[in-house]
């Protein structure tokens, strides 16, 4: 085919995108254990024949519901704090609670997570104080926590960069001999649909594959990279990309906390046993804006949002708990009250976060300092002190 042949290329433009777009953005082979109306599905089969099921106690079902509600409420509180000028920015997880709680609860204590900047739900499930990332968004720090203490890496804002860090960490797990047993370690890397176009993510796929790293790539496909819809990133369903890199991929209903848990637990356990990486595409929807600086009405229509509203992760779990008489009104009221209390508590503590001392900007550039920087710090301090006693 000659490049630039008008007949061929125009025919190609008309015919192919429609069918491939349907394949990329439709919902084939979606692993689902809880329907949008709250019906339980006993088991679901993945594209490679794996059968997924969960076996939770009533208490555990209620616990997942509580996680979902708390995570949404704390997220809403953070959005409100931004609107009131108390945070510089907030990246809301609204709509993605089930993907994050399901995968977050699937992690075992020894597992390591590498988040983007939106994994507040995973962070919560790791037992981390939800105020921890708020310093970053308030501008009082840059996310300064110890990844190894919390088994949760610092938030990463450069899209996809953390997938390579997760891959290297997972190679280290392997080199430390911590795979191959049921109590082995596994690693999970979070990223979004937009990130799948990044070189780093594709390099991470290659690396994890050839080194058989104990790693789960967890892609929350929330349909948008800020304004760009999924079809600007891919012409095949994202989970199928895994095949080309030599490891399994599965698409799960990311608004179904049970299925999200089941596929993640299975993938993590395979990884810790030494069976290598896999890709999970959690098919979900970003109900809110990309961040508080974004205006989604410029690029998507209300009916699309309404259609996803009907698949809400919390509503379906609530419907299930009601129908199965696992929870009653008193329980739901108690959860709401806990969420309200925790949100208020979070707000109070955010408002009390102190601004850092200006001279602290010189801290921690180098582990053992630098004479040049020490001299700059001294000059800065002297300059600041020259204002003491003045009206400025």
């Amino acid at each position: 085919m000659a490049k630039g042949d008008p007949a061929v290329s125009s025919r190609g433009r008309r015919a192919t995108p429609r069918s491939r777009r349907a394949a990329a953005t439709g919902e084939p082979e979606l692993v689902q254990l809880l329907t949008p109306t709250g019906e339980r599905i006993e088991s679901a089969t993945g594209p490679d024949g794996t059968e997924y099921r969960v076996d939770f106690t009533d208490e555990e079902y209620r616990g997942l519901y509580r996680d979902l509600v708390l995570v949404r409420k704390l997220d809403a509180e953070a959005t409100a704090l931004q609107r009131q000028g108390e945070l510089g920015l907030w990246a809301s997880l609204l709509g993605q609670e089930a993907a994050q709680v399901g995968s977050g609860r699937a992690l075992r204590s020894q597992d390591m997570a590498f988040p983007t900047y939106r994994e507040h739900g995973v962070l919560y499930c790791r037992g981390i104080d939800p105020i921890m990332p708020l310093g970053l968004f308030r501008g009082v720090d840059q996310g300064g926590w110890d990844p190894n203490e919390f088994k949760f890496n610092m938030y990463t804002i450069v899209i996809g960069a953390q997938t390579l860090h997760a891959t290297g960490y997972a190679m280290g797990v392997h080199m430390d001999g911590k795979t191959g047993t049921e109590d082995g370690e596994a690693v999970i890397a979070y990223f979004g649909d937009g990130a799948t176009s990044q070189g780093d993510v594709n390099e991470a796929f290659v690396w994890a594959s050839v080194f058989n790293a104990p790693l789960v790539f967890f892609c929350q496909n929330n349909q948008y990279a800020i304004s760009e819809p999924l079809e600007r990133q891919t012409r095949v369903p994202l989970y199928r990309r895994a095949g080309g890199f030599g490891f399994p991929g599965v698409r799960v209903d990311g608004n179904d906390v049970l299925a999200s848990y089941a596929v993640t637990r299975h993938a993590l356990d395979n990884a810790r046993l030494g069976q290598g990486p896999s890709l999970i595409e959690a098919y979900t929807y970003r109900m809110g804006a990309h961040t508080t600086s974004d205006d989604p009405t410029r690029y998507r229509i209300a009916s699309e949002v309404e259609a996803w509203q009907a698949k809400d992760p919390i509503a379906r779990m609530k419907a299930f708990l009601y129908k199965q008489q696992i929870a009653d009104d008193a329980f739901f009221a108690e959860v709401d009250e806990q969420a309200r209390t925790e949100a208020v508590h979070l707000r109070e503590r955010v408002l009390e976060l102190p601004d850092p001392a200006p001279v602290s900007m010189f801290d921690h550039v180098y582990p053992h300092g630098s004479p040049e920087l020490d001299a700059q710090r001294a000059r800065f301090s002297a300059y600041m002190e020259s204002f003491e006693g003045s009206v400025h």
């Binding site: 990844p147 390579l164 860090h165 891959t167 290297g168 190679m171 780093d200 550039v365 180098y366 630098s370």
Partner: protein
Amino acid sequence: MATETLTLGKALNTGLRRALENDPKVVIMGEDVGKLGGVFRITDGLQKDFGDQRVIDTPLAESGIIGTAVGLAIRGFRPICEIQFDGFVYPAYDQIVSQVAKMHYRSQGKVTIPMVIRIPYGGGIGAVEHHSESPEAYFAHTAGLKVVTCANPQDAYVMIQQAIASDDPIVFLEPKRRYWEKGPVELDAPLSGAYPLHSARVVRPGADATVLAYGPMVRTCLEAATAAAEDGRELEVVDLRTLSPLDLTAVYESVRRTGRCVVVHEAPGNLGLGSEVAARITEECFYSLESPVLRVTGYDTPYPASRVEEEYLPDLDRVLDAVDRTFGW
């Protein structure tokens, strides 16, 4: 004390071997570093002796090398990454500048990235494009990174071990055209008593003018000093060794004595290391200067075709020409 005559490349190889022996968390990773021993053979024999979990042939993707090394460092390893040639480091630039350099700062000191990024750099070997570049200013401009370069086998042997032992992420620039040059190396001297990594060193004393260089240009400047001495002019040559942080204490002392200073590097002059050095000398030694600080550098062009690289690169005559001009001011 065992002193052997080694090439600069073999000195690096021996230093890397020592580091692998001394710390089981040290790993080497890069393209062709294993069975082949690297395209310049700097890692020759190391995979054979330490295994493919310590000396890792990676996929061909530089961002992946640095990005996975970040994860290994978080896990507690001390990765030494080889970038095959200077001109191939740019795909890793984002990981180096946005991730490696900032991890310690962002984490408020809770994460250290004790990574060494080895880059053969500079021209003079008749290579095709992308194989002769001097990217040091990009890295020296970035807070959180340290940048060093060696100029002789003894420094190569010691500095590579010091860089690996350091908790800082360090860009370690290797003057590739000097890989085959030989010199004495003290193999048994303890690292603890070695000359400090982030220190410049006077490599030839002189009273008439100060000449600053680093990496491949140190030898060029020493040769210029020999030629100048035949004309009765004594040049003091300083090997900067550390490009970030700069160590200019000895330089200031020298310039206050000589009143004249020439900075020499292969990299283009515009916003190069020489510009920063000249600015600082002007700030510190203004009343001692008999002439402006002059720079002898590569030109502000892309690195040219190799048949004209001798005209592009600073050489003995261009260094002496600049010294002459400081006397004619």
